[in-house]
């Protein structure tokens, strides 16, 4: 019995050494993680800016009837992006749109993921804006604040609080979705684990390690959002 357990442990340690220590293979994971985080971070930023603009245009149109053409453009954008798979968008961005240009793959990925995320963020923001009671809008306007001032200082702070969980969720989804970046030969975290697997012919260690790293990232993110939410919820306490 003791021998058996000992042997199992030995083989685990051996496998660990082989997959991560030999030839500094752990660097596939750390470098991959850095690439994944880099793509996610910048894509989130693009997505937020884009989504925010689209949401403002769409809800201004819904509330006032202005910005008709911009609204149509936004609707097309939302339909196309939400109606096609992320991987296909990534491939099209890389091989079709930037096919004949020499451009950093990571930059392409950031753009593709950012534009994709923007569509979802837009609808999240818009639902938040529309969920703020119209009385808030009227209160702001009745005091003489302009549409813009009311939006910025009355509506958006409330909308942001409402949609924070959904936004956090979008970040988490995006972080995991970047795992398809390998399709255009980007060495992200997933690709890193897979590279180790292809060198050592052992799947368990590298893939479980990759999964654990994603899991830890998501848990850290959830925790941060939870803290922010609690801080923002202060004024709701009765």
């Amino acid at each position: 019995m003791v021998n058996k357990e000992g042997a199992f442990l030995d083989s685990l340690i051996e496998s660990f050494k082989q997959n991560f220590i030999e030839h500094d293979r752990w660097k596939y994971l750390t470098n991959g993680l850095i690439t994944t985080l880099e793509i996610t971070l910048f894509a989130v930023l693009i997505g937020f800016v884009l989504g925010f603009l689209v949401a403002i245009i769409r809800s201004t149109h819904d509330k006032t009837g202005r910005l008709k053409i911009a609204n149509i453009i936004c609707k097309i954008y939302l339909t196309v992006i939400r109606g096609t798979p992320m991987v296909v968008q990534l491939l099209i961005t890389y091989f079709v749109i930037f096919g004949s240009v020499n451009i950093d793959k990571i930059l392409v990925a950031i753009m593709a993921f950012g534009i994709n995320s923007g569509a979802y963020v837009a609808e999240i923001f818009r639902s938040g804006i529309m969920s703020v009671d119209n009385g808030q809008f009227e209160a702001g306007r009745s005091l003489g604040l302009s549409y813009r001032q009311t939006m910025l200082s009355v509506i958006l702070p409330q909308a942001f609080k409402t949609v924070l969980p959904a936004l956090a969720n979008e970040c988490i989804v995006l972080l995991k979705e970047t795992s398809v970046a390998g399709y255009i030969a980007i060495a992200d975290l997933t690709k890193g684990g897979d590279t180790i697997r292809s060198q050592t012919y052992s799947a368990f260690m590298p893939l479980i390690a990759v999964a654990l790293i994603y899991l830890v990232m998501v848990m850290i993110l959830s925790n941060l959002v939870g803290r922010l939410e609690r801080r923002l919820a202060k004024n709701d306490r009765h």
């Binding site: 209160a139 702001g140 009745s142 005091l143 003489g144 001032q149 702070p157 004024n235 709701d236 306490r237």
Partner: protein
């Protein structure tokens, strides 16, 4: 002060205001009563163009509100305070911030001036110790008094009240009406849509009766309540008094 000429308002196919002509003088306290759906709230909301009239003119101090541009409208609204049935306080801001937001954002006061004014107003509405609370911690009556303070912070020339006590528990109606009475005594021009007949009798300089989108009768309160002429008004008063 406010001249309303041939004011009409349609909601889709339905005409809710039918050729209303009315003049509100400076210092007047006009109380509008009438059955639900008579158009009295819509009429009030046309005065600061929370609703855009379908046709007609609303002349405030020489300016036609019905046709004013957005920019002009923002200026006009600074001079007309509005108090809503559901208070519409900003739930994410403290009481003090609720009051100071507009004057500061609009550049009418510095933050310090606005804070000082807020403290003053909170004393006037009888809630001097609430400045750092959030609206969720206040009772309905307190919320409405804060909403009035918020409107007053802009130093308006006229105050519009849209059923200010209709969403309140009965025991809180008194404190809000008391404050409104105080405002009236200080000479504020007021237009009030309400179901509080006692307030109309006591405070109004003129009472309007609206039904089916028109002003069917108006008079000073004593005559209005004791000697109504219009049959609709007689029926209405027999039900509410």
């Amino acid at each position: 002060m406010i001249d309303i000429k041939d004011l009409c308002k349609d909601f889709g196919e339905v005409r809710v205001l039918k050729n209303i002509n009315e003049t509100i003088e400076k210092g007047e306290k006009v109380v509008i009563i009438g059955p639900s759906g008579s158009g009295k709230s819509t009429f009030l909301r046309c005065l600061n163009r929370m609703e855009t009239p379908t046709s007609g003119d609303i002349i405030f101090d020489g300016q036609n509100i019905a046709k004013a541009s957005e920019k002009e409208l923002n200026k006009v609204r600074q001079r007309m305070g509005m108090v809503f049935q559901h208070f519409n306080l900003f739930p994410n801001l403290t009481i003090k911030k609720n009051i100071t937001l507009a004057p500061v954002k609009l550049g009418l006061m510095t933050k310090e001036q606005a804070d000082e004014r807020a403290e003053e107003l909170l004393k006037i509405v009888g809630l001097p110790d609430k400045e750092d609370e959030y609206p969720a911690r206040l009772s309905g009556g307190q919320k409405q008094r804060i909403a009035i303070a918020r409107a007053l912070a802009m130093n308006p020339e006229v105050m519009l009240f849209d059923e200010p006590t209709s969403a309140l528990d009965p025991e809180m109606v008194g404190e809000v009406l008391e404050l409104m009475k105080k405002l009236a005594d200080d000479g504020m021009t007021m237009v009030v849509v309400t179901h509080e007949m006692g307030f109309a009798k006591e405070v109004a300089s003129r009472v309007l009766f609206m039904a089916d989108g028109a002003i069917l009768e108006q008079n000073e309160p004593r005559e209005f309540f004791e000697n109504p002429q219009n049959q609709r008004l007689k029926d209405f008063l027999s039900k509410v008094l």
